[in-house]
């Protein structure tokens, strides 16, 4: 399977408003693909379509080789997801959250126990394994949510604004974790509005008002736009829009 994710003219309309306007792109296996764009550009809507949470208005999307419209359940077997709000159960403990999601993904009892212990050790969360998630600091919740997203070893992982509201050091650590995990062959599709995180990705695309206005390796884009940073690229795009009649 050459492409982990493949879309063609993928569109989503809400009444008169077009949130995602005919985007076309491919993501290779094992890639870390950054889906950048300002708030409201349509990133979250796009991810919702790719994960089977929302029905496309038109266009094609294939994730892991399965059509998102017709074979949504097969798509879901191969993906992991970390939502903007982290979607952990506030009133369950760390350990209980891990056990629950392990079970939901069909892992056996023994496997769940093994993974739980391994995960707790890896994230050094053993000390707080019996604390309710709501008392954890944001950075730890983020790490936990990420680990749960990859618990069942999915082939493709979708991360929707995973670093929102988190401090820069934790952000950097988080991206290191993503890189490490990606080296095991998992494909990462990450949306973010932090432009500097583009440096960590293999390729990035920039969305603006529902359309993809740039897609390439970060280095190539910087050359193309003669920019020093990704932020610069984005500003140029935004300014370019303003100057258009």
């Amino acid at each position: 399977m050459p492409h982990a994710i493949h879309t063609e003219a993928l569109t989503k309309r809400f009444g008169n408003f077009t949130a995602v306007n005919g985007i076309t792109f491919d993501v290779m296996e094992g890639e870390i693909f950054g889906f950048l764009g300002a708030n409201g550009a349509g990133k979250t809507t796009a991810i919702k379509m790719l994960t089977g949470l929302s029905m496309p208005s038109s266009g094609i999307a294939e994730v892991g080789g399965f059509d998102v419209c017709r074979h949504a359940e097969q798509v879901k077997r191969n993906i992991g997801y970390m939502s903007q709000r982290f979607s952990l159960y506030d009133d369950l403990t760390v350990a209980e959250n891990i056990e629950f999601y392990g079970g939901i993904y069909g892992l056996g009892f023994r496997e769940i126990r093994q993974k739980r212990n391994a995960l707790l050790a890896e994230l050094t969360l053993e000390a707080v394994q019996n604390t309710l998630v709501r008392s954890l600091p944001l950075g730890w919740k983020q790490r936990l949510a990420f680990s749960i997203a990859i618990l069942h070893k999915p082939r493709i992982v979708f991360l929707d604004e995973p670093t929102s509201g988190v401090d820069p050091i934790t952000r950097r650590q988080f991206w290191e974790t993503i890189s490490d995990t990606a080296s095991t062959g998992i494909t990462f599709f990450v949306t973010t509005h932090y432009m500097d995180e583009a440096e960590y990705c293999n390729r990035i695309s920039i969305m603006s008002e529902g359309r993809i206005v740039a897609l390439d390796r970060p280095a190539a884009l910087k050359a193309q736009f003669q920019a020093t940073s990704t932020e610069d690229i984005f500003l140029q795009i935004a300014r370019g829009k303003k100057e258009k009649p």
Binding site: T51, K76, Y89, F100, G103, Y105
Partner: protein
């Protein structure tokens, strides 16, 4: 399939951690039974009677004595004129005013008939009807006595001996009638409200997304969400029954297996309604109001407080689709009359039908993907 186990376990963990919800769930049967069964009584007692006696004769005094001796009435005022009585009626101190006109005894003896006036506060029509019925009965009795005393046994009346026989509840214990119905209400509250709200809360908070993204089948997810409340509702029924038996000595003539068996089936239907409500609500507030709306209508028309036969045709048709009506009837039939599976076979069929329809609709309606 095992997925259901994980969901149920998570739900129970969350419920038992809820500091306020859990004690409320288990205190509710006790408190409600205590209050409801003592309050819910349509028997008309203690009618406040004011007597305006303008005659002050032996006969009028004897009549007043009869009223004073009656259990149904409590004399709250005596006066000579009607004005005092009417003031009491208006202020609410008296429910009824009996006006005995001046010259009552004389007229009775001389002309053989006289008229009393009974002023009744008819705002509570039932009470007025029953109260005036009691009053008329007392007066009629008194009248018969007078006739018998004065004229002797001139007219031997033929009569029927009409002593009533009350089956299944010879002491006419109103609580035996109400408590099963109240238990139904409690169980329904947990089944319809809590289960529906539970799902909507996940929608509102956002954790439902994480579930929708997994390959979990809709029906397993739903089953896992509903099962804990099925169990809790049955537990409440058990607590309520034990409490009712110990404190109110309600009869349990029939088999408890039938009661719990039917309750289990009933809960599937009611949980399904809660589920259906959750699929059409976006917020907990909406879910709550819609469920409340449905519950109020169903409870009022369930025969719990007023008889179904007295409802007009169209209302009775609606009760065919009202699961609460079936359960109320079954509870009373089984607990008070000892009916068994055979006698409630049609009720079972109806509830099964409702359960199937509602749950099927709810599962169809529940979408892991929004349009």
């Amino acid at each position: 399939m095992w997925v259901i186990y994980f969901i149920v376990r998570k739900e129970f963990r969350q419920i038992f951690r809820h500091r306020v919800l859990l004690p409320m769930i288990f205190m509710m049967p006790v408190v409600q039974l205590l209050i409801l069964s003592n309050a819910a009584d349509y028997e008309v007692r203690n009618i406040y009677l004011h007597i305006a006696d303008a005659d002050c004769s032996t006969t009028s005094l004897r009549l007043i004595g009869k009223f004073a001796a009656s259990d149904h009435f409590e004399l709250v005022g005596r006066s000579f004129s009607a004005a005092g009585g009417n003031a009491n009626l208006e202020s609410g101190r008296a429910d009824m005013v009996l006006e005995i006109p001046s010259g009552f005894e004389r007229e009775l003896l001389r002309e053989g008939s006289s008229t009393l006036l009974l002023n009744v506060n008819a705002i509570n029509a039932t009470k007025a009807g029953v109260g005036s019925g009691y009053a008329k009965a007392i007066i009629r009795d008194f009248n018969d006595q007078l006739i018998a005393g004065v004229k002797g046994m001139q007219n031997p009346s033929r009569q029927f001996d009409l002593r009533p026989i009350f089956w299944y509840n010879p002491e006419l214990n109103y609580k035996a009638f109400m408590v099963p119905g109240i238990l139904v209400m409690l169980v329904t509250l947990v089944g319809m409200f809590l289960s529906g709200l539970n799902i909507v809360r996940e929608k509102e908070v956002g954790t439902i997304e994480q579930i929708n993204v997994t390959p979990i089948r809709k029906r397993y997810f739903i089953a896992g969400k509903l099962l804990p409340f099925w169990i809790i509702a049955l537990a409440e029924l058990a607590i309520g029954l034990v409490f009712g038996r110990l404190v109110f000595h309600i009869p349990i003539e029939g088999s408890l297996a039938v009661v719990f068996g039917f309750a289990g089936l009933y809960l599937v239907a009611v949980l399904g309604i809660g589920l259906l409500v959750s699929t059409i609500s976006e917020t907990q507030q909406q879910a709550m109001f819609i469920a409340y709306f449905i519950m109020v209508i169903f409870i009022l028309m369930s025969g719990l407080f007023t008889p179904i036969e007295s409802m007009p045709g169209w209302a009775r048709v609606i009760t065919w689709f009202n699961p609460i009506a079936y359960f109320v009837e079954v509870m009373r039939m089984v607990m008070l009359k000892g009916s068994g599976w055979y006698e409630i076979r049609w009720h079972c069929a109806a509830i099964a039908g409702i359960a199937l329809a509602v749950n099927g609709l709810a599962v169809l309606n529940y979408r892991k993907r929004s349009a």
